[in-house]
Amino acid sequence: MNAATIDLRRRAVMQAGALVLGFTLLPRRALAEFNGMGVPPVANKDLAGSLQRTPMLDAWIKIAADGKVTVFTGKVELGTGVRTALLQVAAEQLDVAPAAIHFITGDTSLTPNEGFTAGSHTMADSGTALLNAAAQVRALVVQGAAAQFKLDAATLKTSNGQVIAPDGRMMHYGDAVRAVDLHRAAQVRSPLKPARDYSVIGQSLPRVDIPAKLTGGAAYVQDMRLPGMVHARVVRPPAYGARLLSADARAVARMPGVLKVHVDGNYLAVIASDEWQAVQAMRTLSASARWQRGPALPSPANIHATLRALPSQDIVVEDKKAKTGKAVLTLKHRYTKQYVLHGSIGPSCSVALLEQGDMTVWTHTQGVYPLRAALAELLAMPLDDVRCIHTESAGCYGQNGADDVAADAALLARVLPGRPVRVQLMRDQENQWEPYAPAMSTQLAASLDAEGKICDWQYELWSGSHNERPGNAGKLIPAQLLARPFVPSPSQPMPMPEGGGDRNAIPLYTLPQAKVVNHFLPVTPLRTSAMRSLGAHINLFAIEGMMDDLAAAARTDPVAFRLRHMDDPRAREVMERAATQFGWNQRKRRRDHGFGFAFGQYKNIMAYVALAVEIRVERSTGAVHIVRVTAAVDCGQGVNPDGIRNQVEGGILQSASWTLYEKLQFTPDGITSVDWASYPIMRYSNVPDKVDVVLIDRPGAPFLGVAEAAQGPMAGALGNALADATGKRWFDLPLAGPQLMR
C-alpha cells in the first residue's frame, strides 16, 4: 500500500516536472507586478463598502444643473441583475425614481475603481457605498435647498428628485445643489433613510436590461457595430506550449476581404472587412499552420495523484485544540472534483480602437481597471492612454476568455489604427484556452464522541490557483504567445476568510477541535482561475457529506444533527425554514428516491443557504432526476427579491450541472472538450421538476452577497440525496453516470 503510494508520487513528480519546466522557461520576466485585485489603497477604513477606497461623493453621484442625476459604479453587470439592484439602492436613498437616473458601470474614464466584479461582493462593496453616498448627497441637496428657501433643513422633504418645503414650494436637485460642492469626502455616518420607509429597496423592480435582450436590442459587446469596424479572428496553438513552425500567411492574405494577416511568434490572427470572411480566413490559416508540440499534459486518469504530488504551500487556516470527549468513532474519506469549464454560451468577444494614440477597449472583463493596467503593460502605453469600457456579454461565471480576447482586440487594433476591430473567439478556442475551475481533492477525518457530538475534525485540501486574473500582462494568453512573450506573475493563494481553494473549508458548525490545511499548488498543468464559489463547491460537498455520514453513525436525523452543532441563529433559521418548507420530517421513503439536505454560509461571511432535495435514480441508466428542491436564503436586506430568487434558482441548477455531469476532457496531447458534445452540461431533460426559494427578510441588515451562495450547498444536498437513494456514499465528482447503474 505504502510502496504503491510512493511509486505513484514519484511518477507524478516526473510528469509534473516536465510541465513546470515548460512554464518557467519562458524568456522575458514581466516588468511590473500589480495588486491582484487592482484596487486603490484604503483612504479611510471607517467608511462603508467601496467608499473606503473611493471616498469622494462625486465619484459616485453627480447632479447636473438641470437636475439630472448620474450614478457611477465600478462594478459591472455579468448577467446577475446587479445593475438593477445597485440602481435601486441609489434611487432609494436619493429619492429619485430609478428610471430618472443615468447609471454608468465600469469604465476607467468615468467610474470608481472597484477592482473586480467577483465573489458575490457587488452589493456589499458597491451597494453599501451607493447606499451611504446617496444618503449623504440627498442630505447635501436638502441643505442646499434649505439655504435658498431660508428654512430649516429638517422641515424639508424630498420626492422624485425635488425638494419640497412645508409651504409647497419645490426645487429640483440641480437648483438645490447650485452652491454645494459634491466634490467632498464622505462622512463616516450617513443620514440613512430607515428601512421601514423603503419603497424601492425590497421591491422586485423588473431588470432594466431584460427588455433589450428579449427584443433584439444592442445588449452585448457582440452587438457593437462601430463605423468602419472590421472583424478579426485568432488562431490559437493546438495546445499549451506549442510553437509555430510555419503558416501560409501569404495565401491567406489573398483571400476575399482579408485586410491583414498578423503573425507574431506563436500569435496568429486575421483581420477582414466581413466577419464570415474572417472566419474562413482563420480556418485556412489554422489549417496551414504547423506546430511543434509542447510538454505533454498528465494523464487525466490519475490527475488527483499528480496534483497532490506537486510542490505546495501548506497553509494552516484553522487549528483549534480543546479537551474533548473521547472519540468512539472516526470516519475518513477522500473527495475529488475534476476540472470544470466556465462554459459561457457566448464565446468571449471584444472591440478595440486605436485612435490618435488612445486605445479604447470595449470588454466584458470582470475588472476594467486591472485589465487596463495589464493592457497598458502589454502595449507599452501609458495607463492614461488606455481606456476600458465594460460592455456586457454572455455570463462568465468567473474568469473566462474575456480578458484574453480584450488583449487580442487591443493587439489587433494596434495593427490597424483608426479602425475599430471586433474579435470573437470560436467555441473551441474559448474551451481550450479558458482558465478552468481547478481540479481539487480533499481529505476529511471526523470523530464522534459517546454523546453523538463531533469531537475532532481534520481536513486537508489540494488545489491549484483560483485567481489568475490580470494581474500583469503575462496573465493574458495572447501576451504569452508573442515573439517576445510576457510571463505571468507567480500565483498567490487568496487569503482567508474569503479564501480560494479553501473557501468554506472551515465548517461553520461548532467544533471543539479542528484543523484545516490548504495545500496550495502554485504551478499546475492546466490553466485555472476563478469560477463561481471557488473551492466552496467541493468543500461544502465534503463537509455536508461528512455531516450526513456522522449523523447516520449517531443515529440522528441529518437536520437535527446539523442543528445540534450550530450556534449561529441565522444559520439555524435557514435550516429550519428549508426543512419545514420542504416537508423534511414528512418525507417518505420510495424506491430509487433519495432525500438530501445541506447548509452553507457563503465564505462564512455572506448569504446563508440551506436546501433540501429529492432525487430519483434510474437503475437501468444511472441517470439522476431531480424531483424537487427547496432553498431557504438569508442575504440580509434583500434589494430585489425576485432577482435574488433568480440567482439562487440559477445557482441551484448550475451547481446541479457541475455536480452531476461536468468534467473537462483532456489527453496528454491537449484539451479535448472543444464543444458541447465533448463537454455536456445540463439540458432541459435534466432540469428539476420544481425549485422553491424562500427568502428570509432582514430589513435594514447589511447586504450579504448571494449570487454564488447556493452552489456549495446544492453539491452537498445532491451528494446526500444520492447516498440516500443508492445506500452508498459517492465521493468523486461528477456524480451521475453509469457507475450508478444497478
Binding site: I210, T215, Q222, W276, A394, R427, N646, G650, Q654
Partner: protein, 153 residues
Amino acid sequence: MSTLTVNGVRHTLDIDPATPLLYALRNQLELNGAKFGCGMGQCGACTVLLDGQPVFGCLTPVAACEGRQVRTIEGLGSADKPGKLQASFIKHQAAQCGYCIAGMVMRAQALLEQHPHPSETQIRTHMEPNLCRCGTHMRIIAAIKEVAEGSKP
C-alpha cells in the same frame, strides 16, 4: 447575389450564398437577436425560424433560405410592443445573462405555432436543443407555459 426574406422584408445581399444565415442576419441586416454560440448547432443561441421551423442559423447557409420566410425575435415585437412570448419572458424575468434567450424564445415560438397548448413535458422535450448556462430553465419553462395555458380557448 442572394435574396433573403426576413420578418416579411425581402433583401438582396451581395454575399457568398454559402454564408451561414447567422452572419447575414447579424452583419448584413444588423439584427442582434440571433447569437453566435458554438457554430455547430449544439447550443441553439442562433435559433431562428425558417418557414416556421426552428433552425440553427449558424449551420443554415443563406442559399438554403432562398424563397423561404426567415423569422427572428425582432419580428415578434419590440421593447415597447413585445409579442406574447416576449411579454411573458419579461413578466417572469426569464433571463439572467440573456445571451441564450432570443434563441429560446424562437424555439418556443415554433412550438406554440404548431401546438398552441403543449403540456409541460412537451415544452421540456421541445426545448432540449437549446442550452442555458445561467440555470434560468425554470423561468423559461414557466414563461412558455403561461402563454400555452393563457391562449387556451
